[in-house]
Structures are given as structure tokens and as C-alpha cells.
Symmetry: C2
DNA sequence: TTGAAAGCGCTAACAC
DNA sequence: GTGTTAGCGCTTTCAA
């Protein structure tokens, strides 16, 4: 039983019960080697009997660490969060953090009120580090945080000057287009993503590279941008086919857009892949299941979450880290 | 400038700069009425000049509150998180919590290691309350937490004895079936969800109710369960059509399953809605956009998140709350 | 190896 | 109204 009636047991209670001083109890629990086996055993037993759980606030006050990291999602619109990609990434981050005994604090920033609130929360005293999912290019947050001495890792795009993790969008697009060319296609369209996001730009760059490398022209006519959403994919493929009647293949730069493309083609009576071959990007963990017959560029979402957490841990430990580019992988399937 | 060289300014620094005592500074910042206007202004100015940010750990240590709540996702499988529903709900919860000045701590529990870890974290000293997304029926967590004196609100299914928020799945299914009957359909199949989840069961119950109320038989032959995923929807509708050749309508109990149904029907050359009318459930925030032509039972995900947060805040404030059932809404569209 | 004691930064009770 | 002070529960010197 705890000494104080209603409160949970404190370290003092544990020490008393174990017949040692508070200092020894603390050392025993924190794995100091300067503790005799006997003392350590007594403390551990007392902990067990009392159901002692350390008070994190008290510990933080003195250690100036919190064992928690913030995952900040800095977004332009709302749509993003309902996409599978987000859930999968958060899941991976959460699991990786748990493995380090750290807590995941999730924050969204969409307006100035959010920004003000976060500005007071994102300090070295409140979190040990921050993971940033920044969807637009000119986000000032990473810089500000680093300036405060808060280790930060950016996910999804190269933020200059800070640690980041990205997937190889260029390489993925190259592989996709090469695959299409191998199939004998020569008019490969691009249902592109937004060009103010690195992911959108990089995929376009890869498409261009592969085309040029094959001696083909990366004609701007072959490109129609969307917003990563399904309807925009459907609209884009229709525009593209109207503009380029002999289009025989298309690379859709997001999962939902690929679905939109497929749906529009199917609706318009276009045979896939006979008339038009389609390759999409697998943005979510399980999209391969959603469209079983679609060849996709697989995005390693889980690995990305793990890598972000790994880099952040290193930075918290004071090490310098190199940015990571995770390889993408072309998953070839018989197109429907 | 802070007194100590490297550390961020403390309340003591603020007080000194404002020319008041630490107590007054504290009162001023916490909005006590027992502070003169002059003193308050001086403190506020000092805060501004120093860039003072309160040390939450120190505050928690004495107030025994943390201004943070845990969102625990207790899951059977992995798939769930990559579904749009999850992201939308987390988003809504995060926003609502931010409005209360509380932090969102996200935790996943899938194995025993997670359970042990959470058991040490989910205490009144670490979080003010917990929001629980429990996907299976027999989760012991809500009971344990309440026993610890930790306010808990369960989302997604009625957990007996505790506060919970659910959407009116029964009513939604009833409305869907009634709509189908109004259209003149008589053989209304059900692509059901897992029957060990309340959401799955309730939708089936609503389907039965509506059929019986119309004097029709809720034949078990008309029901084929899936796992909420798209492929299972496609498989289910095929089984159903084989078993019930004159099937003229179907209610699909999840977003992805509805998509699977539509895709299978379209692939099999079945006209929708002429041959088979389809109604789905809109589990995500934006599914209406995904399948623009599908009539759906709209699930108020955002409202659900807000309501969970609202109830939790009330419970943290010591009030008793009634469980909430959020109304669903039938969104009728011309089926494709 | 260990106990005692000094804080970490804050709130709240207590005097004035 | 306001300053002073006593802790909140923990880690970490500092002596012993």
C-alpha cells in the first residue's frame, strides 16, 4: 500500500518498502551499475508489490527530456488525411516509436491558430524531436524548429538543410515508363500530380528522363496534371485522349488517380491494356489489393515511417544523419 | 534575456522582469481575477519580451493534469488504418482537441508488448483521459481504464457501462433498404460486414428490420458477409447473385465493399441500377467523391470525432454523460 | 555502494 | 492584491 491514502505510490514509497534510500531506488530503476544486486532485487520487488509507475512529469522536470516526439502534419487542404497513405504512415511511425519507448503526439496544422498553438508546444522541453509531414514546398517550420535546437526529420520531400526521408519518385517513374516502353508502347501519357509538390514534380521528371533516354520526345501535350484525387485522374485521361488520339499508355501519378483513369477508360469503352496500358503509383499500404490487376510503382510507406523514426532517434542522440531516399519497386501485374 | 545563460526563461525570470513576485506572475498567466490590471499587463509584457513558454512538466507535477488525451486504436488486424475512415476520424479528433488546448497522443495496440507499454502510460498522471477506438467486442481496456479513474470514451460501438459514441448503423441500413423498396425492389441482398463487430451486426439488423416491416422475408440466403474490404465485396456479390438469381438490389455494408460490388457487377456485364440497384455505406469523409454516382448511407465521421472529444471533456470535468448515437443520412444519387 | 539533500519550474496556501 | 514559501516526484551531486 502507498503511504498516502489516495495517491499512487511514489519512488519514496518504493524505497521505503525496499528498505533503501530514494537515490538507490532511482538508480536501480534506471539501470545504474552502481547498485548492489541485493538492493536492486529489493527495489524491483517493491515496485512489483506496489504497482509503482514512475511519474513522467517529475522525471521530465529534471532530465529535460520527455520520451515523446511530435508528428506534425502540415497540410494545404483537408483531403489528404482521408487518404490511405496517411493512415499507413502514421501507423508505421507509431509502431517504430513504440519500439523506442517513445510516445507519438500527433498535431495538425491548417490555420494560424494551429500554428500559434504549435509554436508554444514544439519546444525541446515538450518533445524530444519532431517528425514533419510537410506537403508544400515553402514550409518554414523545419527551419524554425532546428533553430530552437529541436531535432527534426522531414518526410516526403527534400527540405534543404535538414534531415529528410523520401521515396525515389524519379526512379519509380523511370521504371514505370521503361516497363511501358518494353511493352512496345510509344505514346506514353502522364497523369501528373500537382507541380508544387516534390512528389508531383519528381514523378514527372522521371517520366521525362525515361522517355528521352529511349530517344522519344517528352511532349508537354502528353502531360495533364491532376490533384492526386480520383476524379481528377478520370478528367485528366479524357483530356489526354482527346488531345493525343494515338495515346497507347499512361502513367498515373497517384493511387486514386490511377483508379480514376481505369474507371474512365472502362466507362468510355477503352480496352486496358490493349488500347491503353496503365501504370499507377501505390501510395497506400494495401492498394495492390484494391486494384489487383494494375501494375504499380510501389511506395514503401512502412519503411518510410521506420526510417523517419530511425533518423530522428539518431539526431536526438546527437548524431548527424544523411538524408535517405527509399527505393521504389515496380510491381508488374497483368492489366485488367 | 533569461537570467540563466542557456536555459529558456522561467516564470521566475518573467516575474523579476515584470517587477512582481512569482505568485503574481503565475496568477496573471492563469487568468486569476485576483490580479491588478497593472500587474497583469506588466507580466504579459515581460512574457512577450522574454518569449516565455511555460514548462508543462513543472505544471503537471503540481496540478496533476497534463492537458493531453490519448487516442488508443485497439485493433484486430493491420488493414484498418489504411482505410480513409481512420484518417478522417483522427483528423477530426485532433482538430476538436486542439480547440480545447489539449494534445493528442496516438497509440496503437496490436500485441502484448503494446498492451504492457500502454498499461504503464494510461494513468491519470500521464493523460487526462482516453479516447478508445475498439474494433472488437470483448476489449477489456475500457473497464480497466475507468477502474483507474481515467475518463474514457469509446468510439464506434456501445461498450456497456462506459461512455460511448456510435453512428446509427441500424437506422442507416433501414433507410437504405426502404429507399430500395421504394424503388420497387423486392429481393434486396446484403453484403454484410464482419458479424463480430457492432457496426457489422447493426447494419444487418437494420436490413432485417426494414425488410420485415415491409412484409418481406429477411432470408439468410440474401446475406453474404465480407470483411469490409473491396475484394470481399466483389466476391460476396458474385456469391449472392449465384445463390439468388433474381436479386434486384444490394446493400453493401462498407465503402470499399460497395466499390467491389460495383466493379464486379460492371465486370460481369450487370447493369446498375437497372438489373441490380446498389446502396453503399460512406465510411470515409470523401467517399461520395470517389463513387459519385452511388447512393450511400453517410457516416458522420467528423461529427463522431467531435462528439467523442466533447463527451471526454465533460467526463474530465467530472460530469456524467449519456452515450450518443449520431444520425446517419441517406445520400441519394442516380446510380451509375 | 549508499543515504541525504539540493534542486528542476511551477501552483497554491498562507500571511501580509 | 501581492510576496513568500512549501511542496509536487524525480534525478543527481556530494559525502560518507
Amino acid at each position: 500500500m502507498a503511504a498516502r491514502p489516495d495517491h499512487p505510490p511514489t519512488l519514496e514509497d518504493v524505497a521505503q518498502r525496499a528498505g533503501v534510500g530514494r537515490g538507490t531506488a532511482s538508480r536501480a530503476l534506471n539501470g545504474s551499475s552502481q547498485v548492489s544486486e541485493g538492493a536492486r532485487a529489493a527495489v524491483l520487488r517493491a515496485v512489483e508489490e506496489l504497482g509503482y509507475i514512475p511519474n513522467q512529469a517529475a522525471r521530465s522536470l529534471v532530465t529535460r527530456t520527455t520520451d515523446s516526439v511530435a508528428l506534425v502534419v502540415s497540410e494545404p487542404g483537408e483531403r489528404v488525411f482521408s487518404e490511405p497513405f496517411f493512415g499507413a504512415l502514421v501507423r508505421a511511425v507509431g509502431a517504430a516509436l513504440a519500439g523506442q519507448g517513445r510516445q507519438l503526439v500527433l498535431s495538425f496544422v491548417s490555420d494560424d491558430a494551429d500554428r500559434r498553438r504549435l509554436d508554444r508546444f514544439l519546444t525541446p522541453l515538450h518533445v524530444d524531436g519532431v517528425l514533419l509531414l510537410s506537403l508544400h514546398d515553402d514550409d518554414p517550420l523545419p527551419g524554425r524548429l532546428e533553430a530552437r535546437g529541436l531535432p527534426t526529420v522531414v518526410g516526403g520531400r527534400p527540405a534543404q538543410g535538414s534531415a529528410w526521408v523520401d521515396v525515389d519518385n524519379v526512379g519509380g517513374a523511370v521504371a514505370a515508363v521503361e516497363h511501358l516502353l518494353t511493352l512496345g508502347r510509344r505514346r506514353v501519357g502522364l497523369v501528373a500530380g500537382p507541380q508544387d509538390m516534390a512528389a508531383g514534380r519528381d514523378r514527372r521528371i522521371g517520366w521525362e528522363q525515361a522517355l528521352r533516354a529511349a530517344g522519344l520526345k517528352a511532349d508537354a501535350k502528353l502531360v495533364e496534371p491532376g490533384d492526386f484525387g480520383e476524379p481528377s485522374g478520370a478528367a485528366a485521361i479524357r483530356t489526354l485522349r482527346r488531345r493525343v488520339p494515338d495515346l497507347d499508355a499512361v502513367l498515373a501519378c497517384s493511387d486514386p488517380m490511377a483508379v480514376g483513369v481505369l474507371r474512365a477508360l472502362s466507362h468510355d469503352g477503352v480496352r486496358v491494356p490493349d488500347d491503353v496500358a496503365v501504370v499507377g503509383f501505390d501510395d497506400s499500404a494495401g492498394s495492390a489489393d484494391l486494384v489487383p490487376a494494375l501494375t504499380t510503382v510501389h511506395q514503401p510507406v512502412v519503411e518510410m515511417g521506420q526510417e523517419m523514426v530511425r533518423l530522428l532517434a539518431a539526431r536526438i542522440a546527437g548524431q548527424n544523419v544523411e538524408p535517405t531516399v527509399l527505393p521504389t519497386r515496380l510491381v508488374v501485374r497483368a492489366s485488367a
